[in-house]
């Protein structure tokens, strides 16, 4: 049985999708968390292929890039999608989500208070509603984006909305199918357990 070691900062951030996928797949792994202030001294000596984290070590081989790692773990957990086409649809929905996720992250990380307030308004009014309307259209009545079972695109959507609803609490009100997707993810036994146990962090 392979051993997995995930290394990331002590945040949910870019690693949380990976952690959720390990949880959903009930795959044991070492969840190594580095504090921000320790990274400068660790970075030169760390075995990171591209000098950045997260990284996943699999039996001595190191993979980098959070989405490449997530896709790898989703594959191991049987959550990629059943056919090539299903896998492509899952990829496409995750890519589309990341475009919006990027804008959201920019808003959250904005240090200037008045610029942040402006960005928050713009995101909430201009970017979020069309995204949710589009994805409500993509979601099946069964609460899955692809096929008839849980895939990593459901989990990716849940993870992103977990961050977004912290800033926009009522964002998902009225989106029946999207709420069903969220419920499906939350009720996966591995995910439910992780959500109860995971360390609480600001990001």
């Amino acid at each position: 049985m392979p051993t997995y070691k995930l290394t990331c900062f002590n945040v949910r951030g870019r690693a949380e999708l990976i952690r959720l996928l390990f949880a959903a797949g009930e795959i044991p792994y070492e969840d190594v968390r580095i504090e921000w202030d320790k990274w400068p001294e660790l970075k030169p000596i760390s075995d990171t292929p591209m000098g950045q984290i997260p990284t996943l070590e699999v039996d001595g081989q190191v993979i980098c890039q959070s989405m490449a790692i997530a896709r790898f773990v989703a594959g191991k957990a049987g959550l990629l999608g059943k056919t090539n086409m299903d896998q492509a649809r899952a990829d496409m929905l995750l890519d589309g989500g990341m475009d919006v996720g990027k804008l959201f992250t920019e808003m959250v990380m904005e240090k200037d208070a008045s610029k942040k307030a402006e960005k928050k308004k713009e995101f909430g009014e201009k970017h979020l509603p069309p995204f949710l309307a589009l994805y409500e259209g993509f979601a099946g009545d069964n609460g899955h984006f692809v096929g008839d079972s849980l895939t990593w695109s459901d989990i990716g959507f849940f993870n992103m909305m977990d961050f977004i609803t912290a800033e926009y609490p009522g964002a998902l009100d009225g989106y029946c199918k999207l709420n069903k997707v969220i419920d499906n993810v939350k009720s996966n036994p591995g995910v439910a357990k992780w959500l109860k146990e995971r360390p609480v962090t600001n990001h």
């Binding site: 993979i63 890039q65 989405m67 490449a68 090539n84 492509a88 649809r89 496409m92």
Partner: protein
């Protein structure tokens, strides 16, 4: 009989070319639909996410350029031999992908001379950063990952070609392993044939 795959994109290389290179390398027929920027507004609402490229296959429309490329890579066996290879290929693509839109901002769409100069400075930094990382991790025998042509090699080749031909010739000489990957791609007979036949495009990008 119509080809099974229909790719629709602008009449440029940019985000659509990796998929075209994959079809070429695999010898798979497809419909290569190119629309002009003027035609785009009329098409936009009929696409899943309001962006191009799209790929239509078996009644389904896929969106997002790298998802489409990965799908065709899987269909044609060029995504990687093991899960680990596929993850490594994905990582290279993720690292390189941003160079296309950033280059477009300098080569195709700069607002004015000042904008072009500022964006060129940022692009130079990004190229050095991303190609530097890829050079470090690349295989030494003419492939980024493993020992066969994979889609990540084609993604790199497309970007390197644009850097050399449309942006700053001579850049790639700082990256010998990556240059070897590009040479391997260029020497592939089907790719070489495609390069002599492919349309020039509305922009050389």
């Amino acid at each position: 009989m119509a080809p099974r795959y229909k790719l629709t994109y602008f009449d440029v290389r940019a985000r659509g070319e990796p998929t075209r290179l994959l079809f070429a390398a695999a010898g798979v027929e497809y419909e290569d639909v190119r629309i002009t920027f003027d035609q785009w507004p009329a098409h936009k609402d009929s696409t899943p996410m309001g962006v191009l490229p799209i790929l239509e296959v078996d009644g389904i429309t896929l969106s997002q350029s790298m998802s489409i490329a990965r799908f065709i890579a899987r269909e044609t066996g060029m995504d990687g031999k093991t899960r680990l290879e596929r993850a490594q290929a994905d990582a290279f693509v993720d690292e390189l992908e941003e160079l296309i839109p950033k280059m477009a901002g300098v080569v195709v769409f700069p607002k004015d001379k000042k904008d072009k100069e500022e964006k060129s400075k940022e692009l130079d930094k990004l190229i050095a950063e991303r190609l530097g990382k890829c050079e470090k991790l690349s295989g030494s025998d003419g492939h980024l990952v493993g020992n066969s042509l994979l889609w990540c090699d084609l993604v790199l080749f497309n970007i390197a070609h644009n850097i050399e031909e449309a942006y700053k010739a001579g850049t790639m000489q700082d990256y010998p392993k990556l240059t070897k990957v590009c040479d391997t791609v260029k020497a592939n007979p089907r790719i070489a044939k495609w390069m002599t036949e492919r349309p020039a495009g509305q922009f050389d990008f």
